[in-house]
Amino acid sequence: MEENLSMPAKEQFAWVWLSTMLVTYAAYFTSVFTIGETTALTQIGLFAATTVVQVLVIGTVSAVIAVRHKGGPQSDERDQLIDQTTVVQVLVIGTVSAVIAVRHKGGPQSDERDQLIDQRATRAAYQLLICGMIVVGCLMPFNNSGWRIFHAAVFSIAVSEIVRHGLMVSMYRRGANG
């Protein structure tokens, strides 16, 4: 609880995103390389399962963080809801809360420092994503096809997201000035 009080909500969100992305994408790409050539259904199922796990984990933890930070949108109502629900209901509420948090950019207690850190991290991640997309969209089609290109695109997105949240965590730790 003490850690919650010493860390802004946005930093906690960044930690959740970073750890979830690292674990789920590590599992995903390990599976992809282990399985090798397989059916389209298996490939799609693997990707869908990874995405569902990410949404559920990030959604649930984000909802708990939002509730614990006073000043978050509708925190009283969420508090009461979570007190009265089962684990399954928390998962559903968490997912919905995450969508709401994303739509209301800023989330609970987002201030100018949070926005500055977000902007800097997003800019760096965007440049990385563009480089990845150039490779995937302009170079890979000449030598590769099908699922290789798909996985390369997912890899590019995963790396840019991990870098984005990694940079956010890093800037929160060492300060936004440097």
Partner: protein
């Protein structure tokens, strides 16, 4: 290349204002307590608007709260 930094007396100003807490100042300023802590530690330079609002809260001139410190790297 010159390393330009902004120093501040925020901690002292809070102390002189009936030992105002970081959370109280943050609430009045519309930022988080962690941002106040980051400003005090010199890890974050606030926007000009926030700096002027700080001066307004403490009823002091801006240069009494923030000092421009130019030192070589």
């Amino acid at each position: 290349m010159a390393n330009l930094r902004l120093r501040n007396n925020l901690r002292l100003m809070r102390f002189l204002s009936n030992e105002m807490t970081q959370a109280e100042l943050g609430e009045r300023l519309g930022v988080t307590r962690q941002t106040i802590a980051a400003i005090e530690a010199g890890k974050y330079s606030p926007t000009l608007e926030t700096a002027f609002r700080l001066a307004d809260i403490f009823q002091k001139p801006l240069e009494e709260i923030f000092q421009w410190d130019k030192e070589s790297a």
